[in-house]
């Protein structure tokens, strides 16, 4: 419960209508898309502008109250779950696309703007904002920036980080600072833009962002290749890249996922296939045509049992069906769906998938793996039931092994979902003690009272916990 004194001060800034500490109002922001994490905040505020954010954060800093900035809460790392209570900051009023600058190829947005709205708005002007996280229909750009979200187009176009060029930030002491600009070149001081991208709300609050845009590709083509052999699919991926083609999308589904998808949508996928590759290329028509032909040859030479190239938009739509339905099909199997994002160098994809299959067998789990083969970002997914404590223990252990294996192969514990609270206990695997110490020093310098999204990124203890408990 908030002290009346603090409550009054917060209301004085945003007004009664933008402050909520009712039980129902707080409950609605006690969770995000991460399974099994729930904690009540003490209040919820919806500031209307940067100055209000600054005033609010000053109050929180004075009273040392945790601040949890939140977009639409679609993240998968527990990043916006208010595990230590405090005040949830919503950006539903600060949700405008402020400007699309066609001369400088930039878009300036408020943090609450919806990702897909921006994508649509810039495409209407013949421009392109490539980051396309799976939740883009509902996710906010502020959330994407704080989590450094990826997506299906990451292989060719990179991730959110590669498109953020300027930020307006409110620091924990209430100072308002700006980093970067509409500039391709800018080396004036530390690169705070990059530091804040992916900072998961632990350093300050992003109140405005300028994003880089690129010209919209002229055309896109889609193809689908089926394999009886996992290694052959992996070799195809390597060969495609080695022959100097960077496709927009290079997605992978393993046998377990194919089976689940086919059971659910019944589109005639061969369930004995060991792997499916969904490949898309965009660009000028000539280049796209040439690349698709070349990739078809590569897949065939690697013994793909079938290679289909879509001749129309409808056919392309059909070919992407399996990939689009992967999450739905998996989510419908069991009440709880745990989706991870261990990532390895793309040359290690086959090794990683094999390791995941062995780990699944060892812990007697049904782990289905799909993901972005082109950039090594895999989504091993376990359909399970949070009420089954014994199975959840096994899920826990299996994921721990998967993370260890990924790091061993030169990879990382998270490619695009973020650390949050879910993977905080594993961060040391990736960074080592020294890395963690250096990051903590940065955090302490900017946020000495540790009010910004406390408990995230850095684990409180070494107790390893991925999915169990509250």
């Amino acid at each position: 419960m908030l002290k009346e004194e603090i409550r009054k001060k917060l209301i004085a800034v945003v007004g009664e209508e933008n402050f909520d500490d009712s039980k129902v109002g707080r409950l609605a922001y006690s969770f995000d898309a991460t399974p099994n994490f729930q904690a009540m905040p003490d209040g919820v505020v919806s500031p209307r502008n940067t100055e209000e954010v600054s005033s609010l954060i000053k109050i929180c800093n004075e009273y040392k109250i945790p601040v949890v900035p939140r977009g639409t809460g679609t993240n998968l790392c527990g990043g916006t779950c208010p595990t230590e209570g405090g005040i949830v900051f919503l950006f539903k009023h600060m949700n405008k696309i402020l400007e699309i600058d066609e001369e400088n190829l930039t878009a300036t947005v408020q943090p609450g703007a919806i990702t897909l709205d921006l994508i649509n708005a810039v495409e209407a002007k013949g421009l392109f904002y490539p980051p396309d996280p799976g939740s883009m229909k509902s996710s906010t750009l502020g959330g994407n920036i704080n989590e450094n979200s990826g997506g299906l187009r990451g292989l060719k176009y990179g991730v959110t980080r590669d498109y953020v060029i300027a930020l307006e930030i409110v620091l924990p002491n209430g100072d308002i600072m700006r980093s970067g600009g509409k500039l391709a070149k800018d080396v004036a001081g530390y690169d705070f833009t990059r530091l804040f991208v992916g900072s998961e709300g632990t350093l300050g609050i992003i109140t405005e962002a300028t994003l880089k845009l690129v010209p919209k590709p002229e055309t896109k083509k889609t193809m689908l290749a089926l394999y009886q052999d996992l290694e052959a699919a992996a070799r195809s991926v390597s060969k495609i890249i080695a022959s100097k083609i960077i496709p927009t999308t290079l997605e992978f589904l393993d046998q377990a996922t194919i089976t689940v998808v086919e059971d659910y949508v019944k589109i005639g996928l061969p369930t004995d296939a060991k792997a499916v590759l969904l490949i898309e290329q965009d660009g000028s028509p000539e280049v796209v045509q040439k690349d698709i032909e070349k990739m078809t040859d590569i897949c065939k030479s690697e013994n793909a049992v079938s290679v289909q190239v879509a001749q129309s938009d409808e056919e392309a739509e059909q070919l992407t069906t399996a990939r689009r339905w992967a999450l739905s099909a998996l989510a419908r199997l069991k009440p709880t769906t745990i989706l991870e994002d261990a990532t390895v160098p793309r040359s290690e994809i086959a090794n990683m998938v094999k390791a995941i299959n062995e780990i699944a067998k060892k812990y007697d789990l049904n782990i289905c793996t799909f993901g972005h083969a082109g950039d090594g970002n895999l989504h091993p997914t376990v359909p399970t039931d949070a009420r089954n404590k014994e199975e959840m223990e096994r899920v826990e252990k299996a994921f721990e092994e998967i993370f260890i294996k990924a790091v061993e192969l030169g990879g990382t514990i998270t490619g695009e979902h973020g650390v949050g609270i879910m993977k905080a206990p594993y961060l040391e695997l990736k960074l080592g003690k020294e890395g963690i110490a250096a990051m903590k020093a940065v955090k302490a310098a900017l946020d000495p009272n540790n009010i910004m999204n406390p408990g995230k990124i850095f684990a409180k203890d070494s107790r390893k916990r991925v999915v169990v408990g509250k």
Binding site: V24, L27, A331, R332, T336, T337
Partner: protein, 441 residues
């Protein structure tokens, strides 16, 4: 007000009755948010979103919160349009959760006397009885024809009612006479070769206030080669009861309807109201715990088809020449027809087949118009905000004809047109009426 004791009972009932698997099935991914009209219209309040509402229901089950006034408000403000269901990756049956929750609250809460009276009259006294529906509609007819309407309007009586109700009074269709409503056929042969035998679910509102639309429906079915059986013993579908927390009432009606239709030896049971149809196809869920009825409910459900769907499947639009003077036509989805019965392309294809017109899709045609049964009366403020948005999109198409597929939507769109003072430029019609108008004789 809900008393502490009532809250306790409601909480216990939530624990006993809410489907825990279904609640857990929501993985809180938030994919439903952009599809929810109340989430958007409330200014993005999570408490007014499907994900938020499910979390609240679960929190009541888990004992994290009490079912207080705020909780009830969140559930009451849901339109029940079920637009969240097709976009849900986990396939959560949100509609079922909402109905169960509303039933628990309603059965364990003592309503104020006026509310209790209205509910009793509507749910027990009126809708289940076709003769009484006719009487009430007859009274409305008397009101409209006797000059009383003119007097009432001149005297400003309607000013005593909320704005939406007062406007509603102006847009109600000219109702049929008692004689027209009473003399209904029980069998109608097809025109030309009979290709199908169908039964017609007439609906209580459709067979009184919208009698002409029911006549048009039968005419189109005839032209499509269907012979039609119209069983006399059929009743109200029970949707109004089901959506308002009167589950027992809707079960009784379901049984009566299953009985009325099961021995007719028909290929399909046709409805022309998306709201009714969606409830009829849910009878198997409604009666799932009743061993005597559950299989019969499945047989019944499997035969339900919307008029647009059967016309489309029977190639009506290819066999019958359709033509109208030039006009722009747009189509507003019936939420339940689209989200529950999954009929979305058939009505559009039928309209596109009309020669001489320009069919223009409006933006967000799949978003609720705010009618939602009696929602536009009980949650008038939110409903009118939703309607305003809908009218903006409608106007942007420059359509002069707005087509709908459900009586509630039809009245709501008429209301929207009236509120915008566009009655002389724009009309709202049921799809069968516009199709019959287009049939070249």
């Amino acid at each position: 007000m809900t008393t502490v004791l009532e809250q306790q009972t409601i909480q216990d009932e939530f624990k006993n009755r809410m489907n825990e698997d279904e609640l857990l099935n929501c993985m809180r991914c938030g994919f439903c948010l952009p599809s929810c009209p109340t989430y958007i219209t409330s200014g993005y309040k999570e408490t007014h979103s499907p994900r938020g509402r499910i979390a609240l229901m679960k929190a009541v089950v888990d004992g994290l919160i009490e079912p207080d006034e705020d909780f009830e408000k969140s559930l009451n403000q849901c339109l029940g349009c079920r637009a969240c269901e097709p976009v849900c990756p986990s396939g959560v049956n949100y509609g079922h959760l909402l109905e169960e929750a509303r039933d628990i609250i309603n059965q364990n809460k003592k309503h104020s006397l006026p509310v209790r009276t209205v509910r009793k009259v509507v749910f027990d006294g009126l809708f289940p009885h076709p003769n009484r529906m006719r009487t009430v509609t007859g009274l409305l007819g008397f009101y409209q024809r006797s000059g009383l309407q003119k007097v009432a309007r001149a005297a400003g009586v309607m000013k005593l009612f909320p704005e939406s109700l007062a406007t509603m009074e102006r847009v109600l269709p000219k109702v049929p006479t008692m004689r027209e409503m009473k003399n209904r056929p029980e069998f109608v042969p097809s025109q030309g070769t009979t290709t199908k035998r169908v039964a017609f679910f007439t609906g209580c509102l459709m067979d009184t206030m919208f009698l002409e639309t029911n006549n048009a429906t039968m005419k189109l079915l005839q032209l499509a080669g269907c012979e039609i059986v119209i069983p006399k013993d059929q009743s109200c579908c029970g949707a109004l009861h089901g959506h308002s927390g009167e589950k027992d009432g809707s079960k009784e009606l379901a049984k009566q309807n299953i009985k009325a239709f099961e021995d007719l030896n028909v290929d399909y049971i046709i409805t022309n109201a998306g709201g009714c149809g969606a409830f009829l196809v849910d009878y198997d869920h409604l009666l799932k715990d009743d061993p005597q009825w559950k299989d019969r409910a499945v047989d019944f459900k499997n035969k339900i088809k919307d008029i647009s769907q059967i016309l489309y499947e029977a190639d009506f639009h290819k066999k019958v020449k359709l033509q109208l003077p030039y006009q722009i036509i747009t189509y507003q989805d019936s939420c339940h027809l689209r989200n529950v019965m999954k009929t979305a392309s058939a009505p559009r294809e039928l309209l596109r087949a009309i020669d001489g017109i320009d069919f223009k899709e409006m933006k967000d045609a799949d978003r609720c118009c705010g009618s939602a049964g009696i929602y536009n009366i009980v949650e008038s403020e939110m409903s009118m905000q939703i309607l305003d948005y809908k009218m903006e999109q409608t106007k942007a198409t420059h359509a002069t004809t707005v087509v709908t597929a459900n009586p509630g939507c039809l009245l709501q769109m008429k209301l929207g047109i009236e509120r915008e003072n566009l009655s002389d430029k724009m009309r709202a019609v049921h799809i069968v009426d516009v199709l019959l108008e287009a049939v070249v004789k």
